[in-house]
């Protein structure tokens, strides 16, 4: 398992980070934004202001480290539902994400020009879309690379296999990032598969690598290599990011019901944010002052997003029929009229 930065924040012997110090600071900021947003979103959900929310807590290095290797102008992200900082870093607006969690359908879309696919609830289905998208970019001689995310649980679905095999045959410019956070709700990684996930890639004829998913620098290195490979026309890569879910599965979940004693405590020692902060501090690039400053900026950024989202219009009856068909059947048009009558015309 490739590691560059150990849990204590020291570089492992001989390791040469590929991510510059400046960009490491940038990465840290994204990770901290993610962590802060998780806390805020959870609080808002508890107040009944947001719908079900799935935090990224613990997996920030995997999500941020991988997406830092992408060029938002040409590259694409095919998310699962737990990759918020990657989406924001790629250009998706935080306020629209919040609006989505607030159920504001009309205001939650991904704006034109931002190369992000919608979150996917049906596990692993997005991998097929991602393989097709990458293949399509290649056919059209477009420069983009697709980064597709899924959990180690989702990787048990048939769609994972079909998507990887198709991408392999087409030598599509795609990177599969497997967020191996040890849990699929209450199902442990051991019950999910008897094999190592990264080894599956060999069977599809492309490279598989396993990295310490709590190590921003290691994840970035693997992702940068993979993106380079894809851009050069050398096909897909599977990155097995071994990380930990430091929170509940989502706001409806109670991990107390299934986490073994001490698991969370042990996992917290792997915290991906702490180790980067220690590392940067050792480089003289981080101290309490910078922490307070960054935390302040982030709090403002989140406040602004929440306020903007709150100001957006709430969903109305007619939204049920928006964007279903480009050319709706007559029968559906009539149903819409009927609903508008019931809703008193909005």
């Amino acid at each position: 398992m490739r590691r560059i930065l150990d849990p204590q924040g020291n570089l492992v012997d001989g390791a040469q980070p590929r991510l510059s110090l400046a960009r490491t600071v940038e990465g840290l900021r994204w990770m901290m934004l993610s962590r802060a947003f998780d806390a805020r979103a959870t609080a808002l959900q508890r107040q009944g202001r947001l719908g079900t929310y799935s935090p990224v807590k613990g997996q920030e290095a995997s999500v941020v480290g991988s997406s830092l290797a992408l060029d938002p102008a040409t590259d694409w992200i095919a998310p699962s539902y737990r990759e918020l900082p990657a989406l924001v870093r790629h250009g998706h607006s935080l306020e629209r994400i919040v609006a989505g969690y607030m159920g504001k359908v009309a205001s939650s879309g991904i704006i034109e020009g931002v190369n992000v696919l919608p979150n996917q609830v049906a596990l692993a289905t997005q991998l097929q879309h991602a393989s097709g998208l990458a293949w399509g970019l290649k056919l059209q001689r477009k420069p983009g690379v697709v980064m597709a995310y899924c959990g180690e649980g989702a990787a048990s679905e048939g769609d994972f296999h079909e998507a990887c095999n198709m991408a392999g045959v087409r030598r599509a410019p795609i990177v599969f990032v497997l967020m191996n956070n040890q849990w699929a709700i209450s199902t442990s990684r051991e019950l999910q598969s008897a094999g190592e996930f990264y080894r599956r890639a060999e069977g599809y004829g492309f490279k598989g690598v396993q990295v310490d998913g709590n190590d921003l620098l290691a994840v970035y290195e693997a992702a940068a290599d993979a993106v380079e490979r894809a851009r050069a026309g050398n096909g897909p890569t599977l990155i097995d990011c071994v990380t930990c879910r430091l929170s509940f599965h989502n706001t409806t979940d109670d991990p107390g019901a299934y986490l073994p004693d001490g698991w969370l405590e042990r996992a917290e020692r792997e915290d991906p944010i702490l180790r980067v902060q220690t590392f940067l501090a050792a480089q003289g690039l981080w101290d309490d002052g910078s922490r307070v400053a960054v935390e302040g900026e982030i709090a403002e950024q989140i406040d602004a997003a929440v306020q903007a989202a709150s100001a957006m219009r709430t969903s109305r009856a007619a939204d049920v029929f928006e964007n279903v068909y480009a050319r709706p059947p007559e029968r559906v048009r009539r149903q819409r009229d009927e609903l508008l009558r019931l809703a008193g015309g909005s």
């Binding site: 719908g51 079900t52 989505g100 607030m102 159920g103 504001k104 359908v105 609830v121 049906a122 596990l123 649980g153 989702a154 990787a155 048990s156 679905e157 048939g158 769609d159 699929a184 709700i185 209450s186 199902t187 442990s188 019950l191 999910q192 598969s193 409806t252 019901a257 299934y258 709430t314 969903s315 009856a317 939204d319 049920v320 029929f321 279903v324 059947p329 029968r331 559906v332 149903q335 819409r336 609903l339 019931l342 809703a343």
Partner: protein
């Protein structure tokens, strides 16, 4: 006798049958230590051990496909699909495999498998979780499709399902899981498939529904009562087998019917109910049978489900129109 809600009735039924018949095993996502996302299997792992209560890898096709093989090996699997909307991933293993294995093997093998799956809206779940796709399984013969609406039926029909040599898709109304308690016998009893239940007697119009929609019809009947309209409610209980005679008897008495379901209108099971009634009870119908359903659009985000699902108001309006016609 004890008071139980639907989840408790199902839990009790599972425990009872696992105790009674050691061939019965439970498998699915998070059914073990967590006890299922709705806790319907809570306590089973501790009581029956990890060989009979199994957290599987995350693959619905595998859960169902392996259940077929487990059945051939001599066991009686009760598979949980976390939400009915995810049976899509196992669609090719349900009707075409479970449903046809007896026929394909000329009777040598059969798939005594029960698939439990919560479904239905109104509880602000994410996409796919509320989808009501029951009608899709009626087009693949060989599978029985049952949908209890009360705690008593939930346990009785679950025991009937597990003991039925034919594969059964057992649909659980998540909205009603903890809605209310009623008397549910502790021991053994079954509710036979193919017999609809008169949930409320009425003389002017018959409202036909299944699963959570039954409760909505009962509320509508209350409102209609105040307007002096006597509306009956028929709970179909099972879509396959369908109680054709029971439906015809009720509707022939009132001459008027309204069908209510949470699935989209087009090709929903309501169409089968209406088509069957007009074939079998044409001459006793005094008015067109109306369907009150979700629209022909995808299930929307939770903030919109109130505008998507049938409502008591829409049911009442349809009943009024039907009676006035």
């Amino acid at each position: 006798m004890a008071q139980r809600n639907i989840v408790e009735a199902i839990r009790d039924g599972l425990a009872f049958e696992m105790e009674r018949d050691e061939r019965v095993i439970v498998l699915g996502l998070d059914v073990g230590k967590l006890g299922g996302v709705f806790r319907a299997t809570q306590g089973l792992l501790e009581r029956f051990g990890p060989e009979r209560v199994v957290d599987t890898p995350l693959a619905e096709g595998g859960i169902i496909g392996c259940s077929l093989g487990l059945a051939v090996s001599g066991l009686i699997p009760v598979a949980e699909i976390q939400f009915l909307g995810f049976t899509h991933q196992a669609f090719h293993q349900i009707g075409p495999q479970l449903g046809r294995y007896r026929f394909r093997s000329r009777g040598r093998y059969h798939a005594q498998v029960t698939i439990r799956a919560p479904f239905g809206g109104g509880v602000k779940t994410p996409e796919f979780h509320p989808d009501a796709v029951e009608a899709q399984f009626v087009q693949t013969p060989g599978i029985k499709v049952v949908c209890p609406a009360t705690p008593h039926d939930a346990k009785g029909m679950l025991l009937e399902a597990i003991r039925d040599p034919d594969p059964v898709l057992f649909l659980e109304p998540q909205r009603l899981y903890r809605k209310g308690r009623e008397e549910v016998p502790d021991g053994d009893y079954t509710v036979p498939f193919g017999k609809a239940r008169v949930a409320r007697a009425g003389f002017d119009v018959t409202m036909i529904a299944w699963s959570a929609a039954v409760e909505m019809c009962l509320q509508a009947a209350e409102d209609l009562q105040r307007e002096g309209i006597s509306a009956g409610v028929l709970d179909l209980r099972t879509l396959v087998p369908l109680d054709v005679d029971g439906m015809v008897a009720e509707v022939s008495r009132t001459g008027r019917a309204v069908v209510v379901h949470e699935a989209p209108l087009s090709a929903g099971f309501g169409a089968e109910v209406v088509a069957t009634l007009q074939e079998e009870a044409f001459y006793s119908l005094d008015a067109p049978i109306r369907r009150v359903t979700a629209w022909d659009t995808p299930y929307p985000p939770a903030s919109l489900e109130g505008w998507y699902l049938p409502t008591v108001r829409r049911v009442v309006e349809a009943a009024r129109r039907t009676v006035a016609a």
